[in-house]
């Protein structure tokens, strides 16, 4: 039994990087004014979703792009529409940061993990890109704090690193134990983009399989775009409430997006297209981004056109065929 004591509460050290503003009350007010608690259809194209819900300067979170259940069609559309000065939550990112930077969309990244490609290095050298240093887990825990509506959360990692110095973290003395404890600022992005296996028209969404932080991202973000391999009925959602990962009121746009993660895989639905994944990696690693963008993004008007012109039915069917594992990827 511990009696309440007055352990000194003090800040022992703090990082000195800019961080996305912490404003739980402001977030609440955004929710009240902008998030529909009525069940209204949010079905729209990826074009409309990006036009309406991604603005220049927005802080954007997504994950696993180009490999597994990434929201590729929406990211492609962001590049197609030429958004500028985005700030990216770079957790479990990879080749996509290089592509977005190469397309001129991004000016800040909270890392994470990403490929330091020629475009990234050039932007750093030219001062058009700033990096702040976290880790995959610190970033996903920042999102969890954002998803709880609290201003910060204690964690047991990150202390002692140099990343800490270039972050928004603080080292405090925990008033309960007196021990040095790291706290990190909650992250409430402007935009979350989440690709899921199934959703209804209102945004009730099902994620199957592992993930990084889809659900906290959807709860923590002011604007949420969900793209889904399949649109299912709300009756089906209601037939298995335990399978719902994200409730409709979090979601602003629902994009019906079969093969929306192409060239990556959606577990239980289709395998990746390894050649196309490699083509992207090779382009980005070589610094040859423009040709890639011209072929895959600027050269088509939509994801459907991308699939039609650059992929074709035979390859898509083959991707489906190669995904033989179905266990656990349906409700």
């Amino acid at each position: 039994m511990t009696l309440a004591t007055s352990q000194p509460l003090e800040i022992l050290a703090e990082g000195r990087a800019p961080y996305h503003p912490v404003d739980p009350d402001g977030f609440r007010e955004w929710v009240r004014e902008h998030k529909s608690r009525a069940m209204v259809s949010k079905l729209m194209s990826e074009k409309e979703a990006v036009e309406r819900f991604v603005a220049d300067g927005d802080y954007v979170t997504y994950e696993c792009n180009y490999l597994t259940r990434g929201p590729n069609l929406v990211l492609n559309e962001i590049m197609r529409q030429g958004r500028k000065n985005l700030w990216i939550a770079g957790k479990f990112t990879y080749v996509d940061v290089g592509l977005l930077v190469g397309a001129g969309c991004v000016s800040k990244v909270d890392t994470g993990f990403f490929l330091a490609t020629p475009a990234v290095k050039k932007a750093l050298a030219e001062g058009t890109l700033e990096l702040y240093e976290y880790s995959n887990v610190v970033m996903s825990m920042r999102l969890e704090a954002g998803a709880q509506g609290i201003p910060f959360i204690p964690i047991r990692s990150f202390g002692g690193t140099d990343g800490f110095e270039y972050s928004g973290a603080k080292l405090i003395r925990d008033p309960y134990t007196g021990l040095a404890t790291v706290i990190i600022p909650a992250l409430n992005p402007d935009v979350a983009i989440v690709h899921v296996q199934q959703a209804d028209q209102f945004g009730n969404a099902r994620v199957f399989g592992t993930g990084i932080s889809d659900v906290p991202a959807a709860l923590a973000s002011r604007k949420v775009i969900v793209s889904a391999e399949e649109i299912i009925s709300t009756d089906e959602i209601r037939s298995n409430p335990g399978a719902t990962s994200i409730p409709y009121w979090c979601v602003d746009a629902v994009v019906e997006a079969p093969f929306g993660s192409y060239p990556g895989t959606v577990p239980g639905y289709y395998a990746s297209d390894p050649a196309a994944v490699m083509e992207c990696f090779a382009a980005v690693l070589r610094g040859d981004v423009q040709a890639y963008l011209d072929k895959w993004i600027y050269g088509v008007q939509s994801h459907t056109e991308l699939l039609e012109k650059n992929v074709g039915v035979a390859k898509l069917l083959d991707m489906k065929k190669r995904e033989t594992i179905k266990e656990g990827f349906r409700a």
């Binding site: 330091a116 990234v120 995959n136 140099d162 592992t210």
Partner: protein
């Protein structure tokens, strides 16, 4: 066990780590390369009741091998028949709670106190080489009870002090430094494994404890910029076996991307192993 005739540097490192894997212990593996292959090798050959968690939180899968290219995490073959699918945060919480016995990591630069740099070579923000960042390795290095680090045996990879601490070792090496920085009590680096050598720590300072038969202590020290402590008796590691290599080559690193990307080859000439450096 069958003597292997020829294998690569990185295959040696993975086999060495594979033999460290213990039954009934948990391993949190960073990413999908050498750490994952090493723990799978150990589990399949030596420690069937070792359990591993992927960086993204999948608990104890029985992956359908081999993986598709680039798809050693998150994809369905990698998460197949897991006991539970988690997320990045559920993995992080189990590590924070002390459920992860070992973390397995790889890196580009490590220092004499086991600090890891995967962020920046050179003076941060003033030119130099930007790298990919810690990924999940920071939390693995912070919260697992013991960490096993895999890297190549190159002078510039073993430095006195890393240019940037991406993932924590013993920090400045003083007693209690990790705890003062907010990290869990009693955690830290445990082994560093390279194609040539294995290191442990004495009083939080890197120490050479074992070598492969085909290199000498002097050769190893020549490829270690920070001068490590050297154990009174440096043990000799067993070379890889055919069984290990067969598993690595046919089920795990089937495209050779992880094992032959750098380093040399080691050949059995009928009497001894000799190493042929890469062109």
């Amino acid at each position: 066990m069958t003597r292997a005739e020829a294998f690569s540097d990185r295959e040696v490192a993975m086999c060495t780590v594979g033999r460290l894997i213990e039954d009934g212990k948990t391993y949190w593996a960073a990413g999908g390369g050498t750490p994952l292959y090493s723990v799978l090798l150990g589990k399949k050959l030596y420690a069937p009741d070792a359990q591993y968690v992927t960086e993204d939180g999948v608990i104890a899968p029985i992956p359908m091998l081999p993986f598709e290219p680039m798809m050693s995490m998150v994809a369905s073959r990698a998460t197949y028949k897991a006991l539970s699918w988690g997320t990045m945060n559920t993995a992080g919480y189990f590590a924070q709670l002390g459920f992860m016995d070992y973390g397995i990591l790889n890196t580009l630069q490590v220092d004499k106190h086991g600090n890891i740099n995967s962020t920046f070579l050179g003076e941060y923000g003033h030119g130099g080489r930007r790298m990919h960042g810690p990924g999940g390795a920071d939390t693995i290095a912070a919260c697992c009870w013991r960490t096993i680090l895999i890297t190549d045996q190159e002078k510039r990879k073993f430095v006195e002090k890393v240019d940037f601490i991406s993932s924590p070792g013993f920090l400045d090496g003083s007693e209690g430094a990790r705890e003062r920085a907010g990290l869990p009590r009693g955690t830290g680096p445990w082994r560093v494994v390279t194609p040539w050598a294995m290191y442990d720590y004495q009083d939080r300072r890197l120490r050479l404890m074992a070598r492969v038969p085909w290199v000498t202590v002097e050769q190893i020290l020549d490829e270690t910029e920070c001068k490590p402590l050297v154990a009174a008796e440096v043990q000799v590691l067993e070379p890889p076996t055919e069984e290990e290599l067969q598993l690595l080559r046919t089920e795990l690193d089937v495209r050779g991307q992880t094992s032959d990307a750098a380093g040399g080859w080691i050949i059995w000439d009928g009497e001894q192993y000799t190493r042929q450096a890469a062109g």
